[in-house]
């Protein structure tokens, strides 16, 4: 499909204390019509600045912003305002006018697009029906919950039938349940109205739930981009790995460690229809090794799945031969999954010292999946090394 947005070699340089700071550096992004495109990265990565160049809230220092095949980088005045009225923007902090009603907040956008007064009320009602807030039309923002405020700001952003909706951390100020509601609403808007969405977030859960394509940003640079499944399924860059780790990462309760047999700890990552059980049993039979599954986790990206399995591979016999067999088994495992790495912990010698870096600090890692994954991710991010490139 054709690109609706192209950011061509865009850089944004700020002046800070008299020194130039490059908030965005040579970013090139292609957003297809009708998709949900995500930009992820930790805070301060330049995501917000980049997304603001799309409606020229931030003017690129160099490079081009191309919307619908038209270079809009140099637009000013009325032409720029017209472009903006065709691009909705949803913010993390809602940014509603507190002292006017919901209806007046939406009317602001309609007025900006010269919609006659007489036609505004009907459109406002229609928009509020779309976001499920008809009864709040004459309420003030302070009377609404966070999720409701965000619905109003989505309604405002959609007021003038935009083909593009930009969302800057639109769910980051919301609780989990409300986040899901807002994401469902955005998905529906994308599917039913065909609105192309560019969504930036630091929340991995959000990213994997709705993005078709994703770009990963760090220090103003796009370090990786592609389909969400490919990027998160086999992350190449450190930042992507770190983001994925926080979500899929492993944690094994420390108390468990002394009880483990000696061996090498391998993290396997498989995509989609990676048939796992046969692999484990197959390898352990063929290579005369024991494979203990210590941790398992499956994350869903839309309809596709990415699984993580941490296994302990140990030899059934001692000595040189045993080590060799273990290596062969690991090679075999590695060759049959999407991604694998060895977690750098020597289980058979100095457990106490090296283990801290990778294992969960406390007992909340017992369930091994969700809660522990978040706490442990940061720790072992640096501790592991790859088995194979």
């Amino acid at each position: 499909m054709a690109d609706i947005i192209t950011l061509d070699d865009v850089s944004v340089v700020f002046e800070s204390d008299g020194r130039p700071v490059e908030a965005v550096s040579h970013a090139t992004v292609h957003v297809e019509e009708g998709e949900i495109f995500g930009i992820v990265g930790f805070s301060g990565a330049g995501k917000s600045t980049l997304v603001r160049t799309i409606n020229l809230l931030e003017r690129p220092t160099s490079g081009h912003v191309i919307i619908d095949g038209r270079d809009v980088t140099a637009l000013r005045g009325a032409a720029l305002r017209e472009l903006r009225s065709g691009i909705g923007f949803v913010f993390q902090s809602f940014n509603l006018i507190d002292n006017v009603t919901v209806a007046q907040n939406i009317a602001f956008a309609l007025k900006a697009a010269h919609v006659p007064k007489a036609r505004r009320r009907a459109r406002i009602e229609e928009l509020l029906r779309l976001v499920g807030l008809e009864e709040k039309i004459d309420s003030y923002p302070s009377q609404l919950s966070g999720g409701q405020k965000q619905r109003v700001s989505i309604a405002r952003a959609l007021a003038n039938h935009p083909r593009i909706l930009l969302c800057d951390e639109a769910t980051s100020a919301l609780d989990l349940e409300t986040t899901e509601e807002i994401l469902a609403l955005l998905k529906r808007i994308n599917a039913e109205l065909g609105v192309t969405i560019v969504f930036i977030t630091h929340q991995f859960d959000v990213a994997k739930a709705i993005f078709d394509h994703v770009a990963v940003m760090e220090h103003g640079v796009i370090v990786e981009q592609g389909t969400t499944f490919d990027v998160f399924g086999s992350p190449r860059h450190e930042t992507t790995r770190a983001l994925v780790e926080r979500y899929l990462g492993v944690a094994i309760p420390k108390q468990l460690v002394p009880q483990l047999p000696s061996g090498r700890l391998i993290e396997l990552r498989y995509k989609d229809e990676g048939a796992f059980e046969p692999l484990i049993s197959d390898v352990s039979r063929r290579f005369e090794v024991s494979i203990n599954v210590l941790h398992g986790n499956v994350g869903y990206f839309g309809t596709q799945a990415i699984g993580t399995l941490v296994v302990l591979v140990s030899a059934r016999q001692e000595g040189q031969r045993g080590a060799f067999v273990v290596q062969a088994a690991i090679d075999e495992l590695t060759s049959r999954v999407a991604d694998a790495r060895e977690l750098s912990v020597a289980l058979n010698d100095d457990i106490g010292a090296s283990v801290d870096a990778i294992f969960a600090d406390d007992a909340d890692g017992v369930d091994g999946t969700d809660t522990s994954a978040h706490t442990a991710g940061a720790h072992h991010g640096n501790a592991h090394k790859e088995v194979l490139a």
Binding site: L57, E82, L83, R84, I97, N99, A112, P141
Partner: protein
């Protein structure tokens, strides 16, 4: 005591009216022109609008220069100018002009700070709708700043009420004039006390009304 009541009966009505018109006119002029200046300062200072350091600093300098003068001195400086404008500066009209000159830069800063309290995010959201600057100022920034703006008007009115007493000292009328002429020059302490009590009540009343309105527009 009888003298006091007699003096008040004869002069208080006129004095109150003079003060009321002087402060009223100065407030209207101050809010109108002060708001205009505040918008200019706000737009030329704000990164999201039309930052222009030169305009901002020149206007800011003039505003500060007038504000840095104690009102009594400003008043003396203005007398020749007022004389040129209306002939006799020692009238309520002359007083209103002097008060207006003081009110404009005073309210400009008050309104500017009210505008600056508006969150940048809200302005970004307004800009993102494609709205022109005029609409952003009047339909987004202004309603958001309205409570602070109203509190600023109250602050201005009360300050002007104080200044109006000084206008009285040069004979331009008002309750300040009454207090000086009778209370001070003729040792009618009763008049002085009455004026002081009256001022306390009026200031309380203005504050109370202002707070009520500010609360009503805060949502």
């Amino acid at each position: 005591m009888n003298d006091t009541i007699e003096i008040l009966k004869e002069n208080l009505g006129q004095a109150l009216w003079d003060t009321f018109t002087m402060v009223g006119i100065a407030t209207l002029v101050g809010v109108a022109f002060g708001t205009a200046l505040a918008i200019l300062l706000f737009l030329t200072q704000h990164q999201l609008f039309t930052p222009n350091r030169i305009v901002n600093e020149v206007v800011g300098f003039v505003v500060n220069a007038i504000r840095s003068m104690p009102f009594l001195i400003l008043l003396v400086v203005l007398i020749p100018l007022i004389q040129l404008m209306i002939g006799d500066p020692y009238t309520p009209t002359g007083g209103a002009i002097a008060l207006s000159v003081a009110a404009i830069p005073f309210f400009a800063r008050v309104a500017e700070s009210a505008f600056q309290e508006v969150d940048d995010g809200l302005i970004e959201a307004a800009i993102s709708t494609g709205a022109p600057v005029r609409q952003i100022i009047f339909d987004a920034v202004f309603p958001q700043a309205l409570p602070a703006f109203i509190r600023g008007i109250v602050l201005t009115v009360i300050s002007l009420l104080g200044y109006s007493a000084m206008v009285g000292t040069i004979g331009a009328g008002g309750i300040g004039d009454l207090a000086i002429q009778y209370g001070y020059n003729r040792y009618e302490t009763g008049v002085l006390v009455a004026v002081v009590l009256l001022l306390i009540v009026v200031v309380q009343l203005i504050q109370w009304i202002g707070d009520r309105i500010a609360l009503k527009v805060t949502h």
